[in-house]
Amino acid sequence: MITGTTRRPHWSSGRALLAHLVILLWVPGCLAAAWWQATIAMSGNALSYLYAIEWPAFAIFGVVVWWNFLHDDPEAHGNRRLSVLRRRQRPVDAGEKVAPASYRASEEDPTLGAYNDYLEQLSRQDRPKTWRRQ
């Protein structure tokens, strides 16, 4: 477990506020659509009864997604970001193998070159960049 980090509550972070805004538009929108279909159904279109039931179901679905979004596991969120980074990193890594590090080291100060090679080697180990735990 990651403890001791000061994480802002899910309810007031930027992405949470955006989610509140979306759900505040979504639910009344669905209910308005349900009401609209209900009035059509009342005026004689039997099909619209089905749609009048369906729209509140979409509203409920939206609330469930919103709730899930706010209760997202922070670790899972971090893992997703990490796997996106890894996917972007891979083609770069493959390209770097073509360009020899020794070439660059000869241009630079040898100490700096060795240090850069060390950093490169660390980054190739393909592990989460964190001091917390492995």
Binding site: L47, F58, F61, V65, D73, N79
Partner: protein, 121 residues
């Protein structure tokens, strides 16, 4: 190589999602490319009246299957929104279903690799 239990629970959710993606995708194709032309040029609402509500309720089941998969596989909101909107555009459900399946297999491979012996790296 043994597969962790949480990946096995995702497998069922993936199968349910894929089944619903095919069902909803086919239903939408019938609605858009058969029902609506008949309604416009054939002046008959029969196909739309039957397929429309069925598709609507199947889409609701598709949404539940997509949400279930997203929860188990810990997808982000972005991927869930893509899955939701895939059921609304003709043909896209099939494409997204393929992408989701491929990416899940890739991620599964990644996880199995990193827990495996060192010589695999």
């Amino acid at each position: 190589m043994s597969v962790p239990a949480r990946f096995r629970s995702m497998d069922g959710a993936l199968k349910r999602y894929r089944f619903m993606a095919y069902t909803v995708g086919t239903g939408l194709l019938i609605l858009v490319f058969v029902g609506i032309p008949i309604q416009i040029w054939g002046h008959s609402k029969t196909v739309v009246a039957i397929v429309g509500p069925i598709h609507g309720y199947l889409y609701l089941i598709y949404l539940v299957a997509a949400l279930d998969l997203a929860r188990r596989a810990k997808f982000g909101i972005g991927r869930l929104l893509v899955m939701i909107s895939a059921g609304l555009v003709p043909f896209v459900a099939f494409i997204i279903e393929r992408k989701i399946e491929k990416s899940m297999h890739a991620e599964l491979g990644e996880h199995v690799d990193s827990s495996g012996p060192a010589e695999h790296r």
